[in-house]
């Protein structure tokens, strides 16, 4: 299979600008950050959640708790996927009961990851609300799920993939569309 980079959608500057806007929207929507907690979905959602927490701290001068969610055990394709998912730890140190939880992920696609994440969260308690922040929404939903905060909407074809690269995991910040031929 040949991969070909088709287009760069976001660079470091535009990526961080999108995150800053999302941070403002989270504060606006929740009328402050009282009882708001961020939960990043492994792997890149965690880095994005931490960056959002940094921006929110600059805006509100207050810390927002950040948790890490691993959804491996809740996937609906555990028995189907060819590559074996590796289990990592869920690290949510705060009580999620009655909190406004903002789930953070890099790319929203079929919605199945978010379904799994919501089931995983609800096993940990009963949040007041669950909101969804994603850097990229690429469409093709298979479940009735929509994001509350979106960095950028990118219409894509199914044979394309969206790759989010972050300094924390990949050495640089950018979002690209990759086309797979063959």
């Amino acid at each position: 299979m040949v991969k070909r980079q088709k287009a760069q959608i976001l660079d470091q500057e535009t990526l961080n600008r999108s995150l800053l806007r999302i941070a403002h929207e989270i504060v606006e929507h929740n009328k402050g950050i009282e009882n708001v907690c961020l939960v990043g979905i492994r792997t890149r959602g965690v880095f994005l959640a931490k960056r959002l927490a940094g921006f929110i701290k600059n805006i509100e001068q207050k810390e927002v708790p950040v948790g890490i969610l691993d959804i491996t055990l809740y996937r609906d394709d555990l028995t189907l996927v060819a590559s074996q998912p590796v289990l990592h730890k869920t690290e949510i140190e705060f009580d999620i009961n009655d909190k406004h939880i903002v789930l953070v992920d890099d790319v929203l696609y079929t919605g199945r990851t978010i379904r799994a994440a919501m089931d995983a969260l609800i096993d940990l308690g009963r949040p007041r609300t669950i909101q969804l922040a994603v850097l990229i929404d690429r469409g093709h939903r298979e479940l009735p799920i929509r994001p509350d905060y979106v960095g950028k909407n990118i219409p894509t074809a199914r044979q394309e993939t969206v790759e989010v690269r972050l300094v924390e995991s990949d050495g640089k910040d950018e979002v690209v569309i990759v086309e797979q031929n063959g």
Partner: protein, 314 residues
């Protein structure tokens, strides 16, 4: 973590695993330990799968631990104790295994008094087989939970000194621990009365001694095996009190060992035979941590073997 993939449908013994595979199990167990601390201690990973506990030897702790592990993964569990099954009517292990497979179960957890029984069973069924202890051969999940507990306490396995005391000759726990610990780079010493040290044991890369003081000298952890006086050691050591005097882990002996020596025991403990009551209950004892960790380790094993099987089928 290294990019290791698990591709074995069975867990038969630590002899057959690589260092990386053992580390993957321990890492996976660490993630499951978090699940066992939640208010809802159950995840849907093995929903719709069936685990059969097939026990040819009486066991409560191992069976309960496997049963809880399977249930916390949302699997369905069937327990077969052979005293009350068709095995009494002469059915062979392989026939029993094939029948369980025909019932569309996914994993057989087997405990057997014959060394090698799980290995043979695994060759004759396509579903997963997990060894829950076979004869004097191996008890891999016990050794894995021992290593998990050590790693939790000391932060590492490589380079630590572990002493195993007791009936080494008849102990599958000792054998699995030796395989696992040496693969991960620990220094292992075994200590027992001469008659309970099997011939050729030093070929497993361990130090051998009959002197308990020497064995505890620079140990970071001591794994105290249960003396099975009801079984096979009668002739080797007629007097339990004599064994306790010579090899029992007592407060007196702890004074001469490292200050933070970790005390382990696979259970059930015989107070006053291989371990003094005060030692079993002291702050250095991790005996109950081992029990808790056993569930996380067995969850990891059941999860990994079931993933491997699915991958092979595609």
């Amino acid at each position: 973590m290294a990019e290791v993939r698990w591709n074995k449908k069975d867990l038969l013994g630590l002899e057959y695993l690589s260092k990386e595979e053992i580390e993957l199990i321990l890492e996976t167990a660490d993630s499951f330990k978090e699940v066992t601390t939640r208010e809802i201690k159950k995840v849907p990973a093995l929903r719709g799968k069936t685990v059969v506990n097939l026990f040819y030897e009486p066991s409560t702790r191992t069976r309960v631990s496997f049963e809880l592990a399977a249930k916390r993964l949302s699997a369905d569990v069937i327990n077969i104790a052979t005293e009350t099954s068709s095995v009494r009517k002469g059915e062979t292990l392989i026939d029993t295994g094939r029948n369980i497979e025909a019932l569309k179960a996914d994993i057989i957890v087997v405990r057997h008094n014959c060394s090698g029984a799980p290995v043979m069973l695994a060759k004759h069924v396509s579903i997963s087989v997990v060894n829950a202890g076979d004869g004097w051969h191996e008890h891999p999940t016990q050794a894995l939970l021992d290593m998990f507990t050590l790693k939790e306490r000391l932060g590492r396995i490589a380079g630590i000194n572990v002493t195993i005391v007791g009936d080494i000759a008849h102990s599958r726990v000792a054998r699995s621990n030796i395989w696992g610990l040496t693969k991960l780079g620990a220094n292992v010493t075994v200590c027992a009365p001469p008659m309970l040290i099997p011939a050729g044991i030093e070929q497993m890369n361990v130090q051998v001694t009959t002197d308990i003081e020497e064995a505890l000298g620079n140990a970071d952890a001591v794994n105290v095996l249960r003396m099975q006086f009801e079984r096979d050691v009668q002739s080797a050591f007629p007097q339990q009190i004599e064994y306790f005097k010579k090899y029992g882990i007592t407060e007196e002996r702890l004074k001469r060992a490292k200050k933070d020596l970790i005390i382990m025991h696979p259970g059930p403990i015989n107070r006053g035979i291989e371990i003094a009551s005060e030692v079993a209950d002291c702050s250095q004892s991790v005996i109950l941590d081992q029990v808790t960790n056993g569930i996380a380790v067995r969850m990891a094993v059941l999860f990994l073997v079931s993933q491997a099987r699915d991958e092979n089928q595609i």
